[in-house]
């Protein structure tokens, strides 16, 4: 059995692969956050709550209506996206002239509200989400047994992230979005309905979070607090990648998941803080983030 730095290579590969799975979640979530911050200049603290909503909607769809996982994978993000658009129109819009801190606080309050409501109905301990049949089983990779469900998570996330990146960077719709980010006044002078674009963008961003939630439902403990565990780490990921950079957030997400896995092998206690240490260093040395441009 070969060893690397005193650790059996099997253990290392296993943790790295698990880190990649986590990284996929980080990537989708930070992608949504980056998009929202890029266009709206809003730090969406409620992103974790929307992620949880997606997961719970999937569970509710299955338990109450018998709708399977695959249906919910499309339906849940749609529903959550619509809800997000309502939130943007009714609540966030009122704060646009003010300091960004207010939207942070508003979305923080929303998080407490949503998580609190679900917590009072469902308690804190997890609900069970039955693994869809297509994802059951595992593949023996030699150094570890990889459940198919987790391989699916990585695949689905990469596809969605790549598709989003493509739309934003390479299509006309995306260029409208980027124009709106750079100069909203000028863009609307060209006849583009910027407020509508903003609403749709927020809806899309949180729909991404909900998508991640549905992906997570069979894999992670389904609890009203599941977003809480993630959200602050995801913030750190976005800051490291660069607050408005699409590619940056995807790459940072994947990278940091792997870094976490790596840390877990050698110095397990530090795995929860390594992301924040990196964030602090990045903020001090290269404030606009690894891939971002100074706003």
């Amino acid at each position: 059995m070969t060893e690397l730095f005193g650790v059996p290579i099997q253990a290392l590969m296993g943790q790295l692969l698990l880190g990649l799975v986590n990284g996929s979640f980080y990537a989708i979530l930070s992608l949504g956050l980056a998009i929202i911050f890029g266009l709206l200049n809003v730090v969406n603290f409620a992103h974790g709550a929307f992620y949880m909503l997606g997961a719970f909607l999937a569970w509710m769809g299955l338990s109450y209506f018998g709708l399977n996982y695959w249906v919910m994978l499309a339906l849940a993000p749609l529903l959550v996206g619509l809800f997000g658009m309502v939130v943007e129109r009714l609540l966030l819009r009122r704060l646009y002239g003010l300091d960004t801190s207010y939207s942070l606080l508003l979305t923080f309050g929303l998080t407490l509200l949503v998580e609190g409501m679900f917590r009072s109905i469902y308690g804190v301990s997890g609900q069970t989400f039955d693994m869809p049949d297509q994802l059951r089983g595992a593949t023996n990779l030699g150094f570890m047994i990889m459940p198919n469900s987790r391989a699916w998570v990585v695949l689905a996330s990469l596809v969605v992230c790549a598709a989003t990146w493509y739309v934003i960077e390479r299509t006309r719709l995306g260029s409208l979005l980027r124009a709106g980010t750079e100069n909203a006044a000028l863009t609307s002078a060209f006849g583009v309905n910027v407020p509508l674009m903003v609403t749709l963008t927020y809806g899309f961003g949180v729909a991404l979070a909900a998508f991640a939630g549905v992906l997570a439902a069979p894999v992670v403990q389904l609890s009203p607090l599941m977003g809480q565990h993630l959200i602050i780490t995801v913030f750190a990921v976005v800051v490291i990648g660069g607050m408005g950079s699409i590619l940056g957030s995807i790459l940072s997400g994947l990278m940091l998941g792997v870094v976490e896995g790596f840390t877990r092998v050698f110095y397990a206690e530090a795995s929860s803080t390594v992301v924040f240490v990196i964030m602090a260093i990045v903020l001090l040395v290269r404030p606009s983030g690894l891939f971002g441009r100074e706003r």
Binding site: A11, Q15, V124, S125, S149, R150, H229
Partner: protein, 406 residues
């Protein structure tokens, strides 16, 4: 502007005072009521072990005691500690200071119970720990007012741990909940393993109510131990077992559920749990008396009782019997009576509360039936052997409790 400021300040200060004073008037501090308090995890990972159904069991006990003693009404107050020691301890303190609570029942979570036991000792009120497992409650952290009723980590270690080592599981790896309970369970089981010629190859700690066990299980697998000791409970145990199956850990290691309740088996199903050993102080289907009581419990809650829920009933009746014998609810008199009592009910035939607070009674080593062996709903266990009380728990001579005269 200054006047308004003063008025505002006055209003709020008086308002807050009113609210603070409200705590005094909302509940009677009178001694014309025997008030029992329960602080348990009502909504978290241990909610199925005791929780709301446990409250039903206590209510049954109070009803069976005719709801009153010497003409004084018996009341129950309930609070959720949310697995936070500060919430549990603060609530206990407030109840003793302001709420007129005469006896405190402790639900799951050893850390919270340890904190509450200290408060009860400070306020000189009886505290009966039922849901918590850590044997520290009757050893290093014993007090004259603590009774540890249903089970503890030593009994679990000797029962399940001993059985597995004797069956050939010589090398162990622990997956441990990172707080007082997990640590106690791991320590006490490791002692048993070492005593019987086994070896602990390593361990990994996971946060309480962890969302994802995959990385911990990978580490466990890498150790190549024969047995994976799950030093956790409730939702954590359920999730560990699920993930262990998903990641194929069960193909190379045997799972030891060091603390498992019937609610866990019910949640996981027999497919995932069959063949697992577990140690318990109570099983609903053990004999006629347990079945009779369980039937009443089932009618009220639609589930069979866990050991903790059954113990809630038994402990409440024991306490009330002690109050009756002492003819007062004064804590010292009641504690003296409880330590003299012989507990004989459906929960245990011959229970005795020792000087260190430990309630000693027979424990049972069970094995989970396979689907084929299970003939009716909730028919989950078969008895492997009965462990007499004096063998299950720490002998008095070895107790680390300062109250025990050596």
């Amino acid at each position: 502007m200054k006047r308004i400021n003063i008025r505002a300040a006055l209003a709020v200060a008086l308002g807050s005072l009113g609210l603070a004073a409200g705590t005094v008037h909302a509940q009677k501090i009178s001694d014309d009521v025997i008030r029992i308090g329960l602080i348990d995890d009502m909504s978290g990972l241990y909610a199925d072990v005791g929780g709301a159904r446990g409250v039903e069991a206590i209510k049954m006990a109070i009803a069976d005691a005719k709801g009153q003693l010497f003409g004084k009404k018996i009341e129950l107050v309930v609070a959720d500690h949310q697995n936070k020691a500060d919430i549990g301890a603060s609530k206990a303190r407030e109840w003793f200071d302001q709420g007129g609570v005469d006896m405190l029942l402790g639900g799951s979570n050893s850390a919270v119970s340890l904190a509450m036991s200290k408060v009860a000792a400070e306020k000189h009120k009886p505290f009966i720990a039922i849901g918590a497992a850590s044997a520290r409650l009757t050893n290093e952290d014993c007090t004259p007012y603590t009774v540890h009723y249903a089970y503890d980590t030593v009994a679990l270690g000797k029962g399940t741990g001993g059985a597995l080592v004797d069956a050939g599981g010589k090398t162990w790896y622990f997956l441990t909940a990172d707080y007082a309970f997990g640590a106690s369970l791991q320590n006490d089981t490791s002692a048993v393993i070492a005593a019987r010629g086994g070896q602990v190859l390593g361990s990994v700690k996971h946060p309480l109510n962890a969302s994802d066990f995959s990385s911990f299980l990978l580490q466990a697998q890498a150790s190549k131990a024969q047995i994976l000791g799950l030093a956790n409970a409730g939702g954590d145990t359920i999730n560990s077992i699920k993930a262990a199956n998903e990641f194929g850990v069960t193909k190379t290691m045997k799972l030891a559920g060091l603390l498992m309740f019937i609610s866990d088996v019910h949640s996981l199903g027999l497919d995932l749990t069959q063949g697992m050993y577990l140690t318990t102080g109570f099983y609903w289907d053990l004999n006629e008396e347990t079945r009779a009581w369980a039937k009443r419990f089932f009618e009220a809650t639609h589930r069979e009782p866990t050991m903790v829920q059954a113990a809630y009933y038994s402990a409440t009746r024991t306490f009330l019997a002690a109050v009756e014998a002492a003819k007062t609810d004064d804590a010292d008199a009641v504690m003296a009576q409880m330590k003299k009592a012989h507990i004989h009910d459906f929960f245990t035939k011959d229970g005795v509360i020792r000087a260190d607070g430990r309630m000693v009674h027979d424990m049972y080593l069970m094995q989970v039936k396979s689907k084929a062996e299970s003939k009716y709903p909730w028919d989950y266990y078969k008895v492997v052997k009965t462990i007499p009380g004096d063998q299950a728990f720490t002998p008095l001579a070895e107790s680390k409790c300062s109250l025990v005269k050596k």
